[in-house]
Amino acid sequence: MMPYSVFALARQALTGHRSWPAAWRDPAPRARYQVIVIGGGGHGLATAYYLAKTYGITDVAVLEKAWLGGGNTGRNTAIVRSNYLLTANSRFYEHALKLWEGLSADLNFNVMFSQRGMVNIAHSNAEISALHRRGNAMRLNGVDAELLSRDDLGRLMPGLDLSAAARFPILGGLIQKRGGTARHDAVAWGYARAADARGVDIIQNCEVTGLRRDGDRVIGVETTRGPIAADKVAICVAGDSGRLAAMAGLRLPMESHVLQALVSEPVKPMLDVVAVSGALHVYINQSDKGELVMGGDIDGCNSYAQRGDPHVLDHVVESAAALFPAIRRLRMMRSWGGTVDMSMDGSPIITRLPLAGLYLNGGWCYGGFKGTPAAGTAMAHLVATDRPHPVADRFTLDRFDTGDLLDERGSGSSPWMH
């Protein structure tokens, strides 16, 4: 692998940038691997990378049915934060955030991690109390958090409607300054290139259509490019988790739903933090290209369609315009949807499955992008050692039987409510 650096850039400039090598190989699948990772999104690629880097397991293939990052990795709004309430989630996402802080250097690939600050906006006294509680929980867990007055919010976001006449008047907020955004595609590409450099085969246009088993052990996969044998198989397919589990004869505590997002036409810099209003069910930030990126809730019914209903986008836009009246006249440029793996308690699952040699990483709901480095770390640890990683040891599958749930939002077993 040619390291990317200012010197490499200068050298390539001499030849008119015509001799950059491909960032990763495009190998044909071999007949067998030690480990097969299903799913070439951020999580699958990170799993392969940490298997190679941390555990020296390089006889690994990542099988992707389409193109790298074409699933939720390339569809998400790229918000990275660790402002969780429950200790198990806080410790996992804070571990992820610390990895994000060094990720570009670790991968030798600029993932454009921008710690611009993540702001929660409160519109009622009850919400202010909830933010106090969340902020205190965060600080007790060693995560940065600061309460913001209305004036603080006005200084941070000059476009915010702080008037008493606002549809939902704003009272205050909470900021996690270390939160922000990253470049979603770069995360897939950076992990792919770094994993490839350590010997991992990244195989696109290769869909897994079945699991090969010998009794209660998995011994490989069936794919659209033929059967491939493996000692261990790691499922990292986000919204398709249920389909892969069905191949193993399992039903998961999970449903697949559609989550939409949209961007406006690009404008000059007007918002340099990520703003979220829980009451209005909207979040908004401005991309480096100037587009305003917005999203809200899932549509709310099972879906694999990767597209959603316009009334959900209406709601997002109305809410965003209620917060920032200046954006009312902007035009929407694009909207899209992704299939998210909504778990029954809103928290992820990183676990061994009842078939020996089979592992599952899923249940990421709205928020798996920010967890990518830690999910890869934890999944690699699990696959390599058969034991859960300490930062993810509560993300079990049997918590739905024992009652040891991680219901961050407290909304019970309706996955579309998380």
Binding site: D240, G242, R243, A246, R251, L252, P253, M254, E255, S256, D299, G300, C301, N302, S303, Y304, A305, D309, H311, M344, F400, D401, S413, S414, W416
Partner: protein, 87 residues
């Protein structure tokens, strides 16, 4: 998406509330005695789902309309409704 309400016909999705997969409660015949079904059955009923990519039997509530609950089959890949709704 427009949803076929058995009472009002095709109406905009925004008028409805989702009720999830149409799953069968264990020991439905004995609703006053939960212990009549094993814990594992209750756990499956509350938490585990088929989550199919294809026909899905599900419940809807016409919240901003006739306020009726009904069951209907929809293809989760295309959003095509595959059955008459049953109130």
């Amino acid at each position: 998406m427009r949803i076929p309400c058995p009472c009002c016909g095709l109406r905009a999705m925004a008028e409805f509330t989702y009720g999830g997969a149409d799953v069968t409660r264990p020991a439905a015949a004995l609703p006053l005695d939960p212990s009549a079904a094993p814990d594992a059955d209750w756990n499956d009923y509350v938490y585990r789902r088929d989550n199919p990519a294809g026909p899905h039997r599900e419940l809807w509530f016409h919240a901003a309309g006739c306020r009726r609950w009904f069951a209907v089959t929809r293809d989760t890949r295309t959003n095509a409704f595959l059955s008459e709704a049953v109130a």
